[in-house]
């Protein structure tokens, strides 16, 4: 599947556009979802799969995938793993945050219309696929059987738990969740997310797959999908790298000749496989 570039970035892509946090939700101990409202001007409309650079003023900026758009508000889910993301997660309602973007490629789900779709997300990888799933739901009749397969470390680290529960109950798409370990009280599946793929014996070989999560998880997921008969080029994955400029100039996120910020983050699996096969030293 060839990825689709979203709308062009701002004519001044290095200038942050001021936004204000209008809603904050603590999703997990270390993960927060922020709703950002433009203060004067807005950044371009992002396609599902694209990312913005979020500025915590005085500290720095970090690339954060779009987790949704909600009545003109940008929705971003952030995990506190470094100085910038810790600051972003600490932002209370009213805090001003700079936004640059949108950048990179989207999921390109239009190419999947008329086919079955399988979306596989692990951990925080659920955030970048959320707008993809929302888009499919908004045009449900244009897609075939659609499955959302979700993996998490444990039940208490499952992102968007309530939303997933509603989605599963709604039945518009199939939702299958697994966690790596769980106490006996957990009613769902336990095991790695690839088990859900291996268990999907009726997965159509014509299906389109969208995968987002830790790199190791994506590697094994892509292989499991191919083992189930999917064509490698029908699998799109979203890579996470250390984006700085986000416009393909600085090279911080470069893998071979590929700038993840510009040519990605969503890339077809045949292009990604040789890139991530190179071992980091």
């Amino acid at each position: 599947m060839s990825q689709v570039t979203g709308p062009p970035a701002s004519p001044a892509p290095m200038r942050p556009v001021m936004h204000r946090v209008v809603r904050r939700r603590q999703d997990l101990d270390d993960t927060v979802t922020l709703w950002l409202e433009p203060i004067a001007e807005a950044v371009g409309l992002a396609a599902a799969g694209q990312f913005n650079m979020l500025w915590a003023f005085g500290i720095g900026e970090a690339p954060i995938s779009l987790a949704g758009s909600d009545d003109g508000l940008l929705v971003h889910t952030v995990r506190a793993v470094g100085a910038v993301t810790i600051a972003l997660c600490s932002a209370s309602e009213g805090t001003e945050i700079g936004v640059r973007g949108p950048f990179g490629t989207g999921w390109g789900q239009a190419e999947a219309e008329g086919r079955d779709v399988v979306v596989v997300a692990g951990g925080l990888g659920l955030a970048p696929v959320r707008p993809l799933v929302m888009d499919i739901l908004s045009r449900r009749d244009r897609f075939g059987r659609t499955s959302l397969l979700v993996g998490a470390r444990s039940p208490d680290t499952l992102l968007y738990h309530d939303e997933l529960t509603r989605l599963a109950a709604d039945g518009s798409i199939e939702v299958d969740i697994t966690v790596d370990t769980a106490p006996p009280s957990w009613p769902g599946h336990v095991g790695v997310v690839t088990n859900l793929i291996n268990g999907a014996a009726d997965l159509s070989p014509e299906a389109a797959a969208f995968v987002c999560g830790p790199e190791v998880m994506m590697r094994f997921t892509a292989r499991a999908l191919i083992d189930q008969g999917l064509a490698p080029e029908a699998i799109a994955v979203s890579l996470e790298r250390n984006m700085h400029c986000a416009i393909g100039h600085c090279g911080h996120c470069q893998l071979g000749s590929t700038f993840i910020c510009k040519h990605g983050p969503v890339l077809p699996w045949p292009r990604v496989e040789p890139l991530i096969a190179v071992r980091e030293r």
């Binding site: 995990r79 793993v81 692990g122 951990g123 790596d180 336990v190 690839t194 094994f220 996470e240």
Partner: protein, 154 residues
């Protein structure tokens, strides 16, 4: 009413197995039922049978002194419950508990091991399939061990 051989043929694990082999397996099989919460296997006990799950889910558990029982994996219809019957000392290394009302085919391990000793083609075919199953469960355990989803793991 479907025969045991017909029911075995429905499991993806036995796909492609010739009917003569399915009939041999079926000769060691019987239908069993477990209610939700029933203990199916207990760690340390003799591995005298294994199960082909037809309906319901089964949790494989390990008891941890500090954390209590931890679910390692859940199995779904079509999957195999129990591999320790295959090799000495024929002792379960995990607990298995029915999460739902379950229907399964129980295969008598002594009966099947004797048939594998008599019919090496059958034995080789079964060992290949179980080796694949053990490999995939080992791989899954490795992925669980590296704790994929911890912060910064990617």
């Amino acid at each position: 009413m479907m025969s045991i051989a017909d029911l075995l043929a429905e499991s993806p694990f036995f796909v492609g197995l010739p009917s003569v082999s399915l009939d041999l397996l079926a000769g060691c099989g019987r239908n069993v039922h477990f209610s939700a919460g029933d203990r199916i296997l207990s760690e340390g006990e003799s591995a005298d049978e294994f199960f082909v799950l037809r309906h319901g889910r089964v949790a494989l558990e390990i008891d941890s002194p500090r954390q209590g029982p931890l679910v390692i994996e859940t199995l779904r219809p079509g999957e195999i419950v129990g591999v320790s019957w295959l090799l000495p000392p024929y002792r379960w290394t995990l607990d298995a508990r029915a999460l739902d009302d379950c229907r399964a085919i129980s295969l008598d391990a002594r009966c099947l091991r004797a048939k594998c000793d008599d019919d090496h083609d059958l034995g080789y075919e079964l060992f290949k399939r179980f080796a694949g199953l053990i490999r995939s469960r080992l791989q899954a355990t490795r992925l669980q061990l590296i704790d994929l989803y911890r912060a910064g793991a990617s």
